[in-house]
């Protein structure tokens, strides 16, 4: 199914009501549309104005999709003054339709553009189609069909087999095989188990999970419920970062609706299976995306990671085996069960099956959400779909994996997007943020940006991360301020290696990655930042800077 185009097009206006478009004035537009419709009740009869989730091209928000038998037209950056035009344009052969469409033409977005055409919606298949605040609309789009079928027809083991067959790997960043994780939890000694959804999407530049939560929360709930059934859990938590108020609101509403409709609770769909799901809201700590920290935070404590093993699959919440997956992972499950694991595995590459959602932003013409098959060349995503740098200059690098990832240089853009390829380039898949950088971006400055992030977000438990990132940020200051020496370059690399190898959790272990990857691909920028080797002749010629900076003696 092509992206954004409903199977059975009825006459409707779909307005994006997700955060991206809201920040661009989506609410005002929706209100204007409703006012215009009410003012013109007769003419607008039979026309639905439907708030939906993300329509992908966030940078051109607010977005409105105009559906009719002749197909779907998408409009972007529509000011509320155009509300009447939108209504007119959506009406069949109204006398003003042509005029209105002409008036809207500057806002028209071409759905045949690669940005839309090359998408392969699986996780996002209903995102932008379904009203996220209506469980009935979700039902109409097939929500909970798979849960019903699974409970009636499949054993937990059959469900896990299907997921294993799909080759799905964790979409939170590390890419651990999902089926294997489910098996590990399921095969623990008898006793209570818990499922946890990690919705603490903290990587700057990543907003995939937020979009799913805001666009179709029922898909996540269904995925979690299927997982809970598959591993034998009767309790679940969704841990959402507090910075996502709209996502929290919609998720809470969806859970309430699901309980009311008997999709959650005791004896779901007349089976023996029961499940309760609670929402836990974070309070501003990136490290809580790390699973052991997340579990402590759910338990009302400081989110400080602990050494693994034991893994949460063995000993998690309150010591019980706990399955933790992220939003996108759970949300892929309903489609996998509907179409079969083999269907999913047929997409993507040998090691990385299926599709992946990316949030494309930075110095790129088309900013927004894309879901593509794994293995698509990075260049296709960034240059074709993203349209390259807005001023037409060349892409310098693409940052993936957030503060744990790295910068991939332009000359490596033909690399396929999959877990192993990105790792081999010194970056990582991460949760799916993809930030494009143009020629003007300085790499030591980028590295320092991320290091400061890690300094700020370090929990402080282990020394390499708590103190090492601070020293790394200071070293990077020297490069940014052109007062570094050759010895600083060695020290930088050595300390990066140490922090990576010795930190307790993934945050610390990955904190040096932005430095190491920029050192690998843009070393010349660091070398150019070395200050001129000084040939100080004491006493006067070696000046002491105002900051008392006195290094730089070269014997």
């Amino acid at each position: 199914m092509p992206v954004l185009q409903p199977e059975t097009p009825s006459r409707q206006l779909r307005c994006c009501g997700a955060s991206g478009c809201r920040s661009a004035g989506g609410e005002a537009l929706l209100a204007a549309l409703r006012t215009a419709r009410d003012a013109d009740a007769g003419a607008a009869a039979g026309l639905t104005i439907k708030p939906v989730g993300c329509l992908r091209l966030c940078g051109r928000g607010p977005l409105v999709a105009c559906d009719g038998p002749e197909g779907t037209r998408l409009y972007g950056a529509v000011p509320p003054e155009h509300a009447a035009d939108l209504l007119a344009a959506a009406r069949e052969d109204g006398p003003d339709a042509g005029v209105a469409r002409a008036a809207l033409e500057p806002h028209r977005l071409d759905l045949d553009e690669p940005f839309f055409r090359l998408q392969r919606p699986v996780v996002l298949e209903t995102c932008g189609q379904v009203d996220p605040e209506s469980i009935d609309d979700a039902f109409a789009h097939g929500a909970y069909d798979q849960l019903r079928r699974v409970l009636a027809e499949l054993t937990p083991k059959q469900v896990r087999d299907e997921v294993r067959r799909s080759g799905l790997r964790g979409r939170g960043g590390a890419g651990y095989p999902t089926g294997l994780k489910w098996d590990t939890v399921a095969l623990q000694p008898p006793g209570p188990r818990t499922v946890v959804c990690n919705a603490d999407e903290g990587d700057p530049g990543a907003f995939m999970d937020r979009s799913v939560l805001e666009s179709d929360p029922h898909r996540l709930i269904e995925g979690m419920a299927i997982a809970a059934y598959a591993v034998g859990a009767d309790h679940g938590y969704v841990y959402v970062r507090a910075e996502y108020p709209l996502a929290i609101e919609r998720l809470r509403l969806a859970l309430q609706q699901a309980r009311r409709k008997g999709v959650l609770g005791r004896g779901i769909f007349d089976s023996e299976f029961s499940l309760a799901i609670e929402v836990r809201v974070g309070a501003g700590a990136y490290v809580c995306g790390e699973e052991t920290a997340l579990l402590l935070s759910i338990q009302g404590q400081r989110g400080m990671p602990r050494p693994r093993p034991p893994y949460p699959a063995q000993s998690g919440l309150w010591g019980a085996p706990t399955l933790i997956n992220n939003v996108e992972t759970f949300s892929a499950v309903p489609a996998i069960l509907r179409e079969g694991g083999d269907w999913y595995a047929a997409m993507g590459t040998e090691g990385s099956r299926g599709t992946k959602v990316f949030a494309l932003s930075g110095a790129v013409r088309h900013t927004g959400l894309v879901e593509v098959p794994m293995g698509m060349p990075l260049r296709t995503v960034v240059e074709e779909m993203g349209g390259g740098v807005p001023d037409g200059s060349a892409v310098k690098a693409v940052q993936t994996g957030g503060p744990s990832g790295g910068c991939i240089p332009a000359e490596q853009l033909d690399t396929p997007v999959d877990y192993e390829s990105l790792l081999s380039l010194g970056s990582m898949m991460g949760s799916g943020g993809m930030v494009v950088m143009g020629e003007t971006t300085s790499m030591p400055v980028v590295a320092r940006h991320f290091m400061r992030f890690s300094v700020n977000e370090s929990c402080g438990k282990c020394v390499p991360c708590r103190a090492g990132t601070v020293q790394l940020a200071e070293l990077l200051d020297r490069f940014v301020e052109h007062r570094a020496e050759t010895a600083d370059l060695e020290r930088l690399e050595e300390l990066c290696g140490m922090v990576r190898a010795t930190s307790l959790c993934g945050l610390g272990q990955a904190a040096p990655n932005p430095v190491l990857s920029t050192l690998r691909w843009f070393r010349h920028e660091y070398e150019a930042a070395l200050r001129e080797p000084s040939h100080c002749e004491p006493p006067d010629s070696c000046t002491v800077g105002a900051d008392g900076e006195t290094r730089g003696y070269a014997p």
Partner: protein, 199 residues
Amino acid sequence: MSDLEPAGAAAPSTAEAPAKLRLATVWLAGCSGCHMSFLDLDEFLFDLAERAEVVFSPVASDLKTFPENVDLCLVEGAVANVDNLELALTLRQRSRMVVSFGDCAVTANVPGLRNLLTGPEAVLERGYMELADRGAQLPHAPGIVPELLEKVLPLHEVIPVDLYLPGCPPSAERIRAAIEPLLHGQPPLLEGAAMLRFG
């Protein structure tokens, strides 16, 4: 390090007594305790005098200018003011081997505590104004009273250092264990609590 031969010995060996090693000791921002400990070497000082000529030292020489061609220079104290800095840069240029001698040189130690205040102004304000019983006045004598650096630094943050001899002060035994091999052109073994412990 092991090639530390007296500067005078570079020439083809003759039948004469081997040239003496040119030794300097320097006192930067420190309490002179390391030098006192040095003097505690007692009779070893005689052995030292056999092998080395003290060419610059606050305790054994009247020279005011740091000489050229120094073989071994022990530096006590941190780098706290412009005079310290100037001397540090000079001695590095004119010495083949520089030793950070004692905790102040190695870590900035007690002199470094003023780094807890932000900048020299705050230090002077605290010392000469806030804590003055009477006649509070900031010292200001350009060219006479050396200006304070923004921060007190350990020696190795200013010049490359070849050897570190921590301790506050390093005991005479530790000093001897470090110097004695150097006099014979050997690198000392700086390991274990006897040689390394701070404080």
